[in-house]
Symmetry: C2
Subunit: 308 residues, 2 copies
Amino acid sequence: MSENKLPSWNETSTKKSITDFVDKITKEGSPDFIPEEDRIAVFDNDGTLWTEQPFQIQIIYCLDRIKELGEKDPELVKSQPLKAFYEQDWKTVSEMTKKDIYEFVVTVLDGKTPDDFKKLVVNWFDKAVHPQFKQSYYKCYYQPQIELLRYLEDNGFKNFIVSGGGIDFMKAVCTNIYGIPDHRIIGSSFKTKVEYNGNIPVLVRLPELNSFNDKDEKVNNIHLHIGKKPVFAFGNSDGDLAMIRYTLSKDNGIAFILHHDDDGREVAYDREFKLSPLIEGLEVAVKEGINIVSMKNDWKRVFEDFKN
Amino acid sequence: MSENKLPSWNETSTKKSITDFVDKITKEGSPDFIPEEDRIAVFDNDGTLWTEQPFQIQIIYCLDRIKELGEKDPELVKSQPLKAFYEQDWKTVSEMTKKDIYEFVVTVLDGKTPDDFKKLVVNWFDKAVHPQFKQSYYKCYYQPQIELLRYLEDNGFKNFIVSGGGIDFMKAVCTNIYGIPDHRIIGSSFKTKVEYNGNIPVLVRLPELNSFNDKDEKVNNIHLHIGKKPVFAFGNSDGDLAMIRYTLSKDNGIAFILHHDDDGREVAYDREFKLSPLIEGLEVAVKEGINIVSMKNDWKRVFEDFKN
């Protein structure tokens, strides 16, 4: 029964903690019952729902995009940080912070309108292949997490993505990948403005960050976009701790951190992934009641179609 | 049949334009078909879903709240603009802009946390009575619009509120009034920050506007929160024109402006309501294909339980 629910999850205590929680809070009349309108689940994306190795997928997109643009306009990529992107100098890129990359690279170059940008992203996804897993990025999601999203939905939850990734980047592809509608995807955003073509408003992206959705800002944006405290949170890095603690501050809240400890089927890493490390989360997990999910032990498989 | 759908709407060409639109875009295989995921409807709130006379309900809340605070702390209300609020000097208040009121009044005084603020708002709604209609503000919604929200939902639409009103103010009460979940309510917002009580994050409201959701900013926020162009828009003032035009720039988009022309059952006004006038909307409606809804002619009744 339990196996049918989450077939790619092993029968471990982690899986049991998920199903026990759902059983408990959906049981009408029980003191732990949570009404449907409050069943809000928040998921980080990079490293939680899809792979973030060797870089977050959006950064790999930027590397490819800047290579393309630099070939047309060598002036553009003469100095840092764009030079490192153009030369696919992964070492230099990996020493930048995620925020630097957003501010200095992503914001400068994307399509003029959100529709232009969406086309660029979709075109890239339609062709690009992951360097290690040799599969489309469309396939780089974690199959156990897709099952978890559906399982929560079947139990009356509304799932939201709350990610440091670009909100427009995610909306271009994530709705189809995860079955989560655009309006439930929250991410880092740029400012926009409206220009007029006669009476027709045209929304234009500006090269200025509106919100860098990491750490405490995830809590601010959960309040702005959702307006309720979640009862279920899933992340994989210290950037998710604020939203995890916010969730745990709610009666009956439960939270999970995915630990990438599986070098065979994916990549084993935590503190050494400078762009988005997991250090404090592992240290405080037991004390604060955060469930650590071991990719190696808790997941029967990692990707859907991949031999693993 | 058509009457059963929207019983509080008269059998006019306005009602027919709504039902024809819905019939057309839900007909599979037709060239006008719009898939469910794109059936996004946006509604202004003040003057569109509930009454905004003599002031927007949130402003009346502020008048009452500042009176209460000024009685405890006379220093607070010695100078403008708070003095006018304290003295319930409606003439002076009506000469302010909505944005002034947000910036100088609302942001200074509300509860420390969103939960504190929500309690203040709910407590006020539980007691306050509308000065003209002599009924609870909970009852000051327009019954024909509730039927329209349900009718659209029944036809696969997702309804969103996109209002100049405060997002937290609306979330405190509007979900119950309109049956629209918190995460589909978009409004003016304040900045927030996270403070820590040990490891527990506490979200705190800051006296600084994050977004004043009027005119073009409604389009920016539709993109940020929804990420899709709506196909159905309903407003009542020139502050809604940007989102109406944005909606009409979409294939098959349709838009409505409620004209308050009913002095018997509500209040007849347009250009003279300085806080939120309707001038340009009436001038351009025919040319731009915006449907003008006459409260007097198109609505069989205005409020649900009110003798009208």
